[in-house]
């Protein structure tokens, strides 16, 4: 160590430099991780906002927690090929797996207390690609941005009635959804509901042409409106019993998948804004639900119906929701998988 002690000044300088590099590196890391910005909207904060006052139901989805699995097929009629090169649009039959659900964080919610019904779906193409989606029955989403969704969760969780008023003033788009919630008829069956993707995606056709689209699953079953009170009388878990019963007696249930193509200038970044009725619609196939299984041991339990799992030929648009949903659903999945012991399988299926 001949040089040690020979250059005390440059040595101090070097030590300071080393400390600065380490401190700077660690600080930059902490900043990137959000540890220094408690105001950042993280997946954790969204998950916390979704939790009911008594805390989340461990082992269950953090939203749309009540649900039942189905399996079936997607029958593509070939019409979608014109819009997207995704293999699932080529005429043919593809395995489908999904989940009917209620938009609540409570897996034991009474059916008649939950306005929003949903459907998670995964379609597998022959080449190993998957298309996942999660759709709901209102024709528009409640808010324009993920941040506004967080604010809605906070406002609606407050006891103070002023909180919602203030929220609506800041987010007037909410009224379209609120009107639907107040006036749209209820039904007594998952089979009678339409399910809308709401978010906009980009389809790319074989020639490279791009089309902004939204899609819906429209029921082929006869729709019989009923009142909220009537539904309540049928029991807390009527919907799950009914869909299992209906398929057992009447056979498979069907939905037509309808793709709506945007005109230039239609709002793609905001799922709270409906597109005009006159937009071009293309029926691309039929979802056939053939079999119902309880969630606890069912095949939908372990699937995250992340709307950004897309086959080639479909990609996200400037709509900010799919990315936000993907990050929050992943977190929800991480948590519920880690809590599987709190929602034990009955042991008939794999461990």
């Amino acid at each position: 160590m001949t040089q040690s002690g020979n250059l005390p000044r440059s040595r101090v300088g070097s030590l300071v430099l080393i400390a600065a590099v380490l401190g700077g590196g660690a600080t930059a890391f902490a900043y990137t991780a959000g540890w220094l910005s408690p105001g950042r909207l993280t997946p954790e904060r969204m998950i916390a906002a979704l939790a009911p006052p008594a805390g989340p139901s461990l082992g269950h989805r953090r939203n749309h927690a009540k649900g039942i699995c189905f399996t079936g097929v997607f029958e593509a009629n070939g019409n979608g090929v014109e819009l997207s090169s995704a293999k699932v649009f080529e005429r043919g039959t593809y395995p489908a797996l999904g989940r009917f659900n209620l938009g609540t964080a409570d897996p034991n919610a009474v059916d008649a207390t939950v306005r929003v019904r949903g459907l998670g779906l995964q379609i597998a193409a022959a080449d190993g690609e998957e298309w996942r989606m999660a759709l709901i029955n209102p024709p528009v989403f409640a808010v324009s941005t993920p941040q506004a969704f967080h604010d809605l969760l906070i406002a609606s969780g407050k006891k103070d009635p002023e909180a919602m008023k203030i929220f609506i003033q800041a987010n007037p788009e909410f009224t379209a959804f609120a009107t639907w919630a107040k006036t749209a008829p209820w039904t007594a069956s998952y089979a009678e509901e339409p399910y809308h993707g709401l978010d906009s995606f980009i389809f790319t056709d074989a020639k490279g042409g791009e089309h902004a689209v939204r899609w819906s699953l429209l029921p082929m079953a006869q729709v019989t409106p009923i009142s909220e009170a009537e539904l309540e009388e049928r029991g807390p878990d009527f919907l799950e019993q009914e869909i299992a019963e209906r398929i057992r007696i009447a056979g498979p249930q069907r939905w037509i998948m309808v793709t709506t193509v945007a005109d230039p200038g239609d709002p793609t970044a905001d799922p709270s804004k409906a597109w005009p009725e006159s937009r071009r619609k293309v029926e691309v196939g039929t979802l056939v639900v053939q079999r119902i299984e309880p969630e606890q041991d069912g095949p939908c339990r372990d699937i995250n119906f992340d709307p950004t799992v897309l086959p080639k030929g479909i990609r996200v648009s400037d709509d900010p929701f799919p990315a936000a949903r993907s990050s929050v659903y992943r977190k929800s999945y991480d948590l519920r998988a880690a809590e599987a012991r709190d929602y034990p399988r009955t042991g008939m299926a794999k461990p």
Binding site: M1, L17, T32, A33, E129, V328
Partner: protein, 187 residues
């Protein structure tokens, strides 16, 4: 003064710096993407997966080169405790480089997510869905990721210590370009 035997082979030095930059990017992208709900989340996670798999390929090549070429000896005057620390920390760094991408892939497989990289490269699953498996791999990826960053910082501190304070040729042995040491080597 020719010091060729005191340096890593050019290809080793190149890989070292290429991977160093990518690993630091991976660590920052990792903690950044899991703390955002913004649209950037999607490209970030796609980059994280693609770059992570590329790094797995690179570390295999790097280990093969390391076995083939070996490494220049550490300075003779380095205390034995520090030498041991250096060897163990380098071993740990290689361990992280191999294990982190495998954990990342494993955790996606165990969650039944398809792994699709940039370029449409689809990596088939080698593990079935499993709650317990996913939880284990996920925790390992998160906590080892943080430990990896801590070790990278320590490695950086040691490198700067060699380069600026000891000036003992250790930094020069891995530097991308030949450096002129202003002081005479400690011998």
């Amino acid at each position: 003064m020719r010091d060729a035997p005191h340096r890593f082979a050019a290809i080793q030095r190149l890989l070292h710096w290429l991977m160093a930059a990518c690993i630091i990017a991976m660590l920052f992208i990792g903690v950044g993407m899991v703390s955002t709900v913004m649209p950037d989340y999607l490209p970030l996670i796609r980059i994280h997966e693609t770059l992570g798999v590329a790094l797995l390929v690179l570390v295999v090549i790097r280990l093969a080169l390391r076995l083939h070429y070996g490494a220049p000896p550490l300075p003779a005057d380095l205390p034995p405790g520090i030498k041991l620390g250096a060897r163990l920390s380098h071993l740990a760094l290689y361990g992280f480089m191999v294990v982190m991408p495998l954990l990342g892939l494993g955790m996606l497989w165990a969650a039944a997510y398809p792994v699709v990289l940039y370029g449409g490269i689809h990596i088939p699953a080698f593990l079935p869905q499993s709650d317990r498996g996913h939880t284990l791999l996920w925790n390992a990826h998160v906590y080892l990721g943080l430990a990896f960053f801590a070790l990278v910082l320590l490695h950086l501190a040691a490198a700067l210590f060699h380069a600026l304070i000891r000036r003992d040729g250790v930094f020069r042995s891995i530097a991308l370009f030949p450096l002129h040491d202003k002081t005479t080597p400690a011998e």
